[in-house]
């Protein structure tokens, strides 16, 4: 396997990792700060994708669609918080899991009701529609580079927000000890709401960004939710920095592993057995990786200090 292919696969891994980060960032904050397990985070990603599909059909422009979808995703997240999640904070984890799982079923059926069961498509925005030739015959779509840029920009923004602003300080404090923050006179309810809405918007943003390259369909958030949980567990629950690094690691391990596991095994096994085992092992790699991390660092790579 040559260096160019490795480079391209690393880019793919980076792009996948950044999408995972956008989803995991909200999830880790909600879980870390509020101790609230939100299985419905994946459907917020789906809702983001559907909103962008609907708005881009309406306005005919991806840019406008994105601008409209973000506040709508935020409003939708806040609405869910107000109507449902708020009543679950004091319940135990099982109740939260059951209720948010119910929301998954409800919203998956809901989007099918509104937009139909057939997958929707969102055109790639005109200015990003080309591809760059990385090596002879190896084209890379510009839009995927745009996703990487957008993901890195959001990561930078989050870093500034969380580490250098007052709200960010409160969020970090909340992740360490919510009761103490509340005792010091901070309206923890409002803080929760801000964190929650912001997390929902990030997930919606991730959905909006992938809408042009993936198909927008009911249930699209369910698989990615599991990966997002893997990311926050590896990164350390409540830690944005952990989520960022873990997301990139998972993206790379998954993409590069799937692509090269059969080739690496070929060094020690005969080709038929290598491709057979490689195929079996590749999808397991991220879970093996998670098990290894948890064995050595049970609270993740960057645990929040308590």
């Amino acid at each position: 396997m040559n260096a160019t292919l490795l480079f391209v696969q690393a880019l793919n891994g980076l792009q996948f990792g950044l999408i995972l980060f956008l989803i995991a960032a909200g999830l880790t904050l909600v879980f870390g700060v509020m101790d609230f397990i939100n299985l419905a985070h994946g459907v917020q990603y789906m809702v983001g994708a559907y909103l962008v599909a609907a708005f881009s059909a309406w306005t005919g422009s991806f840019g406008w669609a994105l601008l409209l979808a973000l506040p709508t995703a935020l409003a939708f997240g806040l609405l869910l918080e107000l109507l449902i999640f708020r009543h679950l904070y004091d319940r135990d984890h099982l109740d939260q899991v059951l209720a948010t799982f119910g929301i998954i079923l409800f919203l998956n059926q809901g989007v099918r009701f509104v937009w139909g069961a057939a997958p929707l498509s969102v055109p790639v925005p005109e200015i990003f529609s080309g591809s760059v030739e990385i090596a002879t015959g190896l084209l890379y779509p510009v839009y995927r580079l745009a996703i990487i840029a957008a993901g890195l920009a959001v990561a930078g923004l989050l870093y500034v927000l969380v580490s250098h602003t007052r709200v960010g300080m409160l969020v970090r404090a909340g992740a360490s000890n919510a009761a103490m923050v509340s005792a010091l006179g901070v309206n923890i309810q409002r803080l929760f709401m801000v964190v929650f809405g912001f997390g929902a918007m990030l997930a919606g943003f991730a959905g909006a960004m992938v809408a042009p390259i993936l198909s927008v369909e009911p249930g699209m958030g369910d698989n990615i939710l599991i990966l997002a949980f893997v990311v926050i567990v590896i990164g350390g629950i409540g830690s944005i920095r952990g989520a960022f690094l873990a997301a990139l690691l998972i993206g790379l391990v998954d993409t590069v592993g799937r692509s090269f596991a059969p080739n690496l095994l070929r060094l020690i096994l005969d080709p038929a057995a290598a491709s057979q085992t490689g195929r079996a092992i590749a999808p397991m790699l991220i879970y093996i990786f998670m098990a290894a991390v948890l064995f050595f660092r049970p609270s993740g790579l960057f645990p929040v200090k308590r």
């Binding site: 069961a117 084209l139 198909s215 009911p218 993409t255």
Partner: protein, 391 residues
Amino acid sequence: MNATIKTLGLAAAFGLAAAPALAQEKLKVGLLLTLSGPSAVLGQHARDGFQLAVKDLGGKLGGRDVEVIVVDDELKPDVAVTKVKGLLERDKVDFVVGPIFSNVAVATHKPIVDAKTFYISVNAGPSNLAGKSCNPYFFATSYQNDQNHEVLGKVAQDRGYKKVYLLAPNYQAGKDALAGFKRHYKGEIVEESYTPLNTLDFQSELAKIASMQPDAMFTFMPGGMGVNLVKQYRAAGLADRIPFLSAFTVDETNLPAQQDAAIGMLSGSNWAPNMDTPENKKFVAAYEAAYNAVPASYAMHAYDAALLIDAALKATGGKTDDKEAVRAAIKKAEFKSLRGDFKFGANGFPVQDFYLVKAAKRSDGKLQTEIAEKVFDDYTDAYAKECTATN
């Protein structure tokens, strides 16, 4: 007072008991289809196709008023079995039409044929039901699962492609698809790649294909997976350099989402919406008018299933009591299939023609598959010879 209530209660009980006796006059057909989940659109095409046929036949099949009972199998074999028992025991249906998915077909096969009810598949054609486990109560208006894949294998072989890259989801149907392709393709397979089911991002596979430079690629990616793969294949600039052969990937259920990215891509099928027969033209126009979508082959199979039941019951004079007579009538049923030539083989599966089809844009801007060339003539599936039941 008490007596009045009792009398009323008795009357109600008799009323309930009497109702089914009256309704027995109607022919009952149960549609068992996947109508929820990501693959729901396939079931919707089949349901709409069947109901369109019933409408075109004046709400009657074989001269009898018909009641169509639609149930959703949720693509879960256990749910499907429960729903089938409801159809058989509560509704007492005369025919079960469906399903879309082979795992549902295999799970529901036994309860239906054991109840001596005719089971007419509108898509699923698993190899065991065509071969060793064939049954006189099971018919398909579709195909055996391997056949569409065999079309592409034959085309790849005939066109002299030396190296082919194979890609499929990692589950039974994916493996069967690649096995079907290899039945007629004898060249080199540079890579047989399996992605986890419901993978939506194929970028790393595409990078591999680009670096391996095969003469063609063959894939089976139904539903949303196919939408993504096609769009990403086009975006990666591969579509114009490495021919994209597929089955159940570029069809009318996916084309509305794939849009222009799919144009020119090749697929295998037993039919296409542009098939030039008067019956088919009328069907496609009526379907589009009623459901605002170009029909896929699922709709055609279901439409044909209704025509089949209609023709068979006309031959028996509308009677369904004598199962042997109904079976003989089904086997010989004379109806104008939308696909042209149609007859049943010994295993209850069609002996029919298969075509290479190509995705194209019509003058009204909608996309559909169009027939490029005939690949197999009066083609019998590979498992028919294993079928020993007296069908």
